[in-house]
Amino acid sequence: MTDQIKTVGVCGAAGTMGAGIAIVSARAGFRTLCFDMAEEGLTKARGQSEGFFAKSVERGKMSPEDQDAALSNLSATTKLEDLAACDLVIEAVFEDLTVKQNLLGQLDGICPPHTLFASNTSTLSITQIAAGCERQDKVVGMHFCLPAQLMKLIEMSPGLNTSEESFQAAWAWTEAAGQMPVKTQDKPGFILNALLVPFNNDAIRAVEAGVASPADIDTAIKQGLGYKMGPLELIDLIGLDTQVRLCEAFYPITHDPRAATPPLLSRMVAAGHLGRKVGRGFYSYDGNAMFGG
């Protein structure tokens, strides 16, 4: 089945993650069909991809010939029916179970029987997402790390009904695409978010408990543990509202008190302190420069 994957569809390709996944696929030589609802978003994503490849050439990471080939592999559509040509469809749409189930249900009627479906979900159950379509044996979890075009790691998870053949074919595709797959069970947050969401919440609770300032907490974690970013810097980067959504996805499933939204986080989101994107979160920002805790 691995050799049969020639054409890859990416749903949600106007988004940051979807656009990155499309770059990974096209760069590895697969015909890549980018699907999203709005033409404008796809046009913008195309421009960003061209910019990314141009920089790759500038930095000597890619030849001009490979750049041309990768760009020629990329095409876009706003018609879901066009994904009928795909051997593998990777969805990176809004993180909502019903949305993802409905998408796979629609794709089920469009794509040929051999087409594999992969979900880039970071928190939802692959088994539950797969329940939205008839070909549950051909649905796998394929969670890319952000930014997908730079990060090699992919968490690969089979659902309860995923066949070994499908899982191996999807695994082989990630390797052919130059990525680094790791196998995890279909559990909330897989490895990355299962460790990261409660850890980040603990850092917020430490601020609230007066243990230390955000700057001192981040410095301690970076200097003491060798992490590239402190937890509060990271939350500011991903957005405090995103952290709330992650908590809301996790806590009802895990009932882990560390996954529950910390009260300080709720207050900060209510106050509009959403992080870097608004210039204020655990730190204040002037342009791109962090100037205080």
Binding site: C145, M151, K152, L153, E155, M180, V182, K183, T184, Q185, K187, F190, I191, L192, A194, L195, L196, P198, F199, D202, A203, A206, A209, G210, V211, A212, S213, D216, I217, T219, A220, I221, Q223, G224, L225, G226, Y227, K228, M229, P231, D256, P257, R258
Partner: protein
Amino acid sequence: MHMNYAIIMHGESRSFPEDEAFLQGAAPEADITIHLGGGADADLTKTAVLVELTTECLGVYTGEDAGTEGSNMLGFARYRNGDDAPSDLIELVRQPASDEAAIEAARAVFEAAGFQVVVCADQQGRIIDRLVRPKYNDALRFLDEGLAAAADIDLTCRHGLGYADGPIERVERGGLVHHYEVSQRLFETYGGPGFAPARRAHVAKQRSDRDG
């Protein structure tokens, strides 16, 4: 800025286990006194009295007074992952009414010696252990539950999160018995389930006790 400091050894130091430059740079007498190895003597004539901490709080040495405690006596620990070599991070522990001049003097002493200093309240686990011990317990539990192989958990954290090392390799390198002791102290203090030592830490502790 060079700051004179004197060192009083009470026992083996986890922060400065070797005969390193910081120890050699001490003066016989100074206005800043650093107590290493589990002991301390109050001395209000000094600018700062610094007490090396392990898993205990500074209040054990100073006493506490309804949130008004604080003096020229501060706690500190050089962060160290169990048996790993000490890091260059100093967690400086203050109380609500700690003398600000003492804090600045302590910071200056350590920074002059090349350490990075962060200031934290006198709470169990300070900053790092309070945050990472639940994560290590989670990782050990994930291993038991078959979420992924140990190598894959570590690989995921290194490549997906940019960590220098993975949680399983790190906690095992530092020692599961050490992890048990730090986690258990946090669990006894705060009671949160994330602090409860993971099964593998219990096993390591029981084996250690059995072997004497």
